[in-house]
Symmetry: C2
DNA sequence: TCAAAAGTGTTTTCTCTACACCCATGT
DNA sequence: ACATGGGTGTAGAGAAAACACTTTTGA
């Protein structure tokens, strides 16, 4: 949700006189069962614009930067405000500052991307103006938000390739097959279960619990727990 | 250079009333011969603060975001203004928005990182208030700029590991040994020349010219040219 | 002719992949 | 018992590392 200025129509001189507005937006990913196949797929919540510009279109949750919040806090806050979600992973995605992203005033959006666990995601409040969408094949969104989502997806797939990101889409305890399903959903290809298991046990920071997931149709799989830190990469953020 | 507000002293209520200022800064890397060994090492230009806060300390080149520029253009522009440089590579690094980065007003800095070729770097204007420093072992800089440089270095090394970034630090034509020297300088370890050569010819986008670098002490090495695109990674920026 | 870097070839080692196989459970 | 996913073992392909070796120049 880009902040709207005090003018209602675009005006070149006014536009140039105003400083660029600063907004925070968030791309929130969660795993939900596909409506058709039932297999887990990527979803994200969007909010409907209730005013111009782009009134009626769907957009990423967001808002202006509150004075008392760091960028990270601001992202977490209006994520909670609009969707009621608390992310298990939250990282800066990119700062979008093109001149014509918003028709009236110039807006610079600092965009974060988040991942929430399924239990959280189910509790997310849905309403007339807040709804979940499948991440692939989105309709046209407000502003440049389609591009932003595409970029977030690209980065998610990139991190997935050699990182321990998948765990943040799962609950506290999970089976290795569930991790594999996340990879397959996000990367959109099948993965050999045997080799995948080995890769995980070598590199990723997980530990076996002594619990097993009961209630399945077949041999109960062992449950694992993620032991890695949330920020296993960069030194600054 | 963070933009200074109209107040001279920090004042809580004023601080909260003002919107956060938006600034652009740039970390510029170039290859220069080490003063001691003569081997190429990483350097970056800094500008001296001529006003409070942090008056007298060195800082990253930067300034406020001009209305008519995209973020990328703004970075390129004040890079040219302060150092006279035209980058061969320019990419967004991160948006830094901590609450207390600047003492008086809250400043959100969108930081870019750039690489310039040695011929360019030699033409860079140095003065009392603009000087080149070795990227490792920097003194204390203004604001949080030490952290920013560290993060830029981390990202540079990361990209170097499996990318075609090194070429942007070199001229149009280069020997394979020069590319290897860049890798060794940035990653700070030796690399087997034979294996390195093979890796490059497989993956990286370079083509052999029919020229050789004359004037060395030994067998003249063949010159190569970079043929890859500048943006071989993300879809958005 | 010798030193040193350019460039090539070869062996060894490691990692990734494919796939055969056993295990444990619900039906 | 048997079908099915959980879990282990292993042989082959391909990439990476280590290093011996030839080539070409300046001194």
């Amino acid at each position: 949700m880009e902040r709207q200025p005090f003018v209602s129509a675009a005006n070149v001189s006014e536009r140039l006189a105003q400083p660029p507005a600063l907004a925070i937006s968030t791309v929130i990913f969660a795993l939900r069962p596909s409506a058709t196949s039932g297999r887990p797929t990527l979803w994200l919540p969007l909010v409907r614009r209730i005013r111009e510009p782009f009134k009626g279109l769907w957009a990423l949750p967001g808002g202006p930067l509150a004075q008392a919040d760091s960028l990270q806090d601001a992202a977490a806050r209006n994520l909670a405000d609009t969707t009621g979600l608390a992310p298990s992973y939250l990282e800066q995605l990119y700062a979008f500052g093109g001149l014509h992203r918003s028709p009236a005033q110039r807006v610079v959006s600092i965009v974060y991307w988040a991942m929430v666990q399924p239990t959280e995601a189910d509790m997310a409040l849905e309403s007339e103006n807040v709804k979940w969408f499948r991440a692939d094949g989105l309709e046209t969104l407000a502003f440049d938000h389609n591009q932003i989502v595409d970029y977030a997806l690209w980065r998610l797939r990139n991190k997935m390739a050699y990182g321990s990101i998948a765990y943040h889409l799962l609950g506290e305890k999970f089976t290795l097959a569930q991790v594999r399903e996340v990879y397959e959903a996000v990367l959109d290809r099948t993965v050999d279960p045997a080799n995948f298991r080995r890769q995980l046990k070598q590199t990723a920071h997980i530990e076996a619990t002594d619990e097993y997931l009961q209630g399945g149709k077949h041999r109960p799989p062992r449950l694992y727990r993620y032991t890695g830190t949330t920020a296993e990469d960069s030194p600054v953020p």
